[in-house]
Symmetry: D2
Subunit: 357 residues, 4 copies
């Protein structure tokens, strides 16, 4: 249940206040020369404390590889890795030991397992996504060989929306600002919105858009494992995600079929579609156009305001969490979205080698 | 890849114009007394030709069980079943043999497999969902024993929206009208909207909402197989689905955390939440509240208007499909949404027996 | 649990006295032109009533394909098939309804499921292996393209042993006699042994040897899914199998390492081994030599002699089963062994495409 | 491919000369209080250097848990663990870098992956079984709650055989001697045999017998995942294993059915069988009797005598490996056999909770 993928498979482990977070990647082909710096770079994009609009916790998040890589090259054997936890301040959580924080997983974990590691959310902590970023960064390096690149960016924070289709944006500017929005003007407003939430000891949600370029036609499975179903599954598995849509999405359902259909045309680059309401996927299989989708993130539950709740003895109580909080997870979630997308594409890239005899 | 589920698993088979559609359900516990009429009833809700607003194709869609059921009871062994195809008019498709219809899977299947059964969409036909409805109907019967009921309904057709939260609706009225909207007034408007599309030889999309009641706290997995991720995966695997959201969904991302958090309260029914922005799922695990989600369906691609496209020799051509079409799949998709939800809940019901020692 | 294989996967269904036996093959690549006659030929080799030394039940065992094959070619989609049961004489089993026959699965099924289809063994009947023979016959056709051929034969019946290494036999003579032993003289003795058992209303066991030629070096996984572990799993899943050994097997454990090691030599066909105690597999991975193994079949439990046992109310009783019985399953098990081996090799053939980048 | 089990699943990682060996156990229920000393004890039984008849390498093999255990109790979340490699003398292997040692995995790994970590066998090293011993030791602790105990012992070394059925042995004496044979007299002879091999710089193989007591009736799956098929798969996945048989095994195939069948009787402990040729498993499912099986280990390939072979440039060469070698792996393999059996039983114990509604 803690394994993601069919062929290129990540099994993740770890709690936020245990020994560390890590995973095993099984099914990565042999012979891939890894650029560790690129992996570390994605970890830094996810890292707390990277800018004034994220949580100020300091976590170096240095990955250590434990197996499967020899002289810098993947061996075809399981790639285990860990990011050791440091400076965890577990005692900060002692007073929350018996409390079910609103909209956290405290209550549901206790109901499921009858026990829980209360320190910092335990397994439900978003810190677990580190494992996904590492695996995704390796998947990205494999995908480069297939000509695939993946770029996510923040397209809405609260009500502040980037009102341009991605095709009119220069996605290479995404990393130019701390909120990871490729439009400088909108980025300013987003940052202001996050700072307001921060000052208010509150949180704010939003939307991340992701675009994959270079996926050839023919990836995806016809029935259950449609390419977008696997992408949606991957995204909905990220902490705080509440929705997923691809191509024309929810809005497109208002169009008529004759407006929505993407007409095929013959170009000097082969068969293409004139429009791309399909989001690059038809019948669950890539058609060679850009694949794009949106992911909705709720405002995360950890805030520093007074809140009512109950404890494990069903007493109604009031809590006012102290410490540092993350007013908006979206900037840090950008590499996580990319990583999960990369894992999905890596799987279908490998599966595509088995399509025909 | 044609298997859905971890424990309660459906493997589906069949093409729209082959011998039939069917599947094998593996992992259904022994001793479940099946009510075949209830299964057949869901098939009838999915069946073409059931009302003036669906396609007028006539398919009886009678299920035959081939194994795993003895004297009306499941045996713990694989339950195989088939719905035999009849009256398929495969020759109607001869002229489309070499054509890539816009926004269909014709092109992508050919790119993936290098071959395809062109008759009626082959494996990509929505007729395959029959297998899911049968398996879902069995899952529903098992879930009744766990106190779980699932009800889906059409909440938007094109721009015609049912603007009430589900809590203000009487969901038992859903089957009272042919569009499966529990609000009679809105249903009228939706029917009119579909009839307009039909007359225009066009199609219209929309949204289905689904509510599951009685799911106890503790179902779902913490990391990848979060309950809502499995639900989203299930829904996105249904033909024509473009988006999924649960609880507060995309809209909820505009709230601040303090508005969005669901405060726990102590009631005479135990610990509950005051609001339900979480949609009954926290940290990927059910919390005992109603689970609700929305599924976006695009206007389907099969329409009877003239359209430009290319054929497999890359010639640009014009097609005007003949015959019968389905102006809006939403009414018939309601039992499919319920079936897929039932498969997900059946899986997590069984998994929940393994949570603790 | 009723699925075999990782990539090339067979899910089987059916009971001996239900509607039929069949399965779904998922993961067979598109574009394989099937020779249905070859499939039917293997079914005939498994069929009861084929000679005087097998059970005289008459089952035509004609396969019907339900999906996944179009114009004789695999489509990459699930291949469903069935062999319909005929002339089942289910009432013959009425008097055994409450009886736990010695060394049958009657008792254990009841303990596991709390219910069972008592007619002809239900799911535990060896008739289920029909599904495997069909899937294996398709796997064989795919393997031909990889240069792999698989040949099994009966090497012992009771105490009557074929005392020659397979390398000294002409395996093409296997089908020349009804016991499927490539040595004519030994075959005579085996047939006599089976006829004696038959006359005595008893059964006799023995050993099947299987040889796979043409498996290239590099198939198999290093740790759990070693090629021989997958072969052993496949064989031990066949009804009545009690043991498996490959290469030098149990006898080889008496040698010293210096006697047992297979020395590498350089030949004009590349690197080869001088001896083949390894049975073509080293470290779980094929080395390019012949792969050979042995499978032990117990004398099957169904016999026509008087026997003591208990019924489901724990009464001690005496039964004397009537009707036809199979004095020795080995001749009919030869194609089953080949089929299961083919499924394993098909899986590793496909997996081998994912080894390196 | 590096994952073992369906529900209680071990994914292992590590090479003999990398950072360490370890794994992730997923699917272990919450609430199991772990006795770490018992885990460590099994590691010590597997450890090199434990007696004069094993290799003299010194490896402390101390397990460190990285996640999933909190205050000594399993949390239902993934249990990651590692045994760090120490004192690896990797340079000892430099001269073997380009050599394909006879009957090792050097050649096959290179053929499969096109690359290999040559140091100490890399992933093919038996050192990987440490991960299995840890996971198996946890499985054992869970099985104790189900009343199951597992005991393996050495029953043959070379030609030195323990010629008594296990029912006449006092298995509690197994750990009394360094060869792990419960019969003191035979143990002496086995030790002498191993010492002779050691002096000769050679190796010797043999057989391990394993007995599981207390497995209730009803564990195992009817078709592919028969209980003995899963056991066989588990055993054949252990390094150096060449064969597996259960119950009457290969010898039993010489009996007639009327001799071989186990008659059911009614006792004050319920329904039992008079004999146990079935080895406690009928139709793939446990029947409540003792489960017993035998595992054949070849003499391992690493020996210190001069041998001919080829290198990766196909040059025929002569090697005389230096250092320490393990003349007989059987004593150290006893806990590995038990661990793998425990993993199989743990899986079926959990699966058995899903049998009926």
């Amino acid at each position: 249940m803690n394994t993601f993928g069919k062929i290129f498979r990540l099994t993740s482990f770890g709690e936020s206040h245990g020994r560390g977070i890590g995973g095993i990647i099984d099914g990565c082909p042999a012979g891939l020369q890894l650029d560790i710096d690129l992996i570390q770079k994605d970890l830094s994009r996810r890292r707390p404390g990277q800018s004034k609009i994220t949580t100020q916790r300091k976590e170096p998040d240095q990955v250590e590889f434990l197996s499967g890589v020899f002289e810098g090259k993947t061996q075809g054997t399981p790639i285990a890795f860990a990011i050791w936890n440091k400076d965890q301040h577990s005692n900060d959580y002692n007073e929350l030991k018996d409390v079910f924080r609103p909209s956290h997983a405290d209550y549901t974990y206790m109901q499921k397992y009858g026990t829980r590691d209360h320190r910092g959310g335990g397994r439900s902590s978003a810190r677990e996504t580190i494992a996904r970023v590492v695996a995704g960064a390796i998947a990205k390096q494999m995908l480069v060989k297939a000509g695939v690149s993946i770029q996510a960016f923040v397209s809405r924070v609260g009500e502040v929306e980037l009102n341009k289709p991605y095709t009119e944006l220069d996605l290479s500017r995404t990393e130019d600002n701390m909120v990871r929005c490729p439009d400088a003007e909108t980025a300013e407003k987003m940052i202001a919105r996050i700072e307001a939430a921060s000052k208010d000891r509150d949180t704010v949600g939003g939307v991340i858009t992701c675009v994959a370029k270079g996926v050839p036609a023919g990836w995806g499975e016809p029935v259950f494992n449609k390419l977008h179903a696997d992408l949606g599954f991957a995204m909905l598995g990220i902490n705080a995600v509440k929705g997923f849509e691809y191509g024309s999405g929810f809005e497109g359902t208002k169009l008529s079929g004759s407006q929505h259909n993407d007409v095929f045309i013959n170009t000097d680059k082969g068969i293409r579609t004139k429009t791309n309401n399909s989001g690059g996927i038809q019948g669950g299989i890539s058609n060679g156009e850009d694949i794009y989708f949106k992911v909705a993130f709720k405002p995360i539950a950890t805030l520093l305001k007074e809140q009512h709740t109950v404890d494990k003895n069903s007493n109604e109580i009031t809590i006012t969490p102290k410490g540092r909080h993350d007013p908006c997870v979206l900037p840090r979630a950008v590499p996580i979205v990319e990583a999960m997308a990369a894992l999905v594409f890596a799987d279908h890239f490998l599966l595509s080698k088995l399509n025909s005899i």
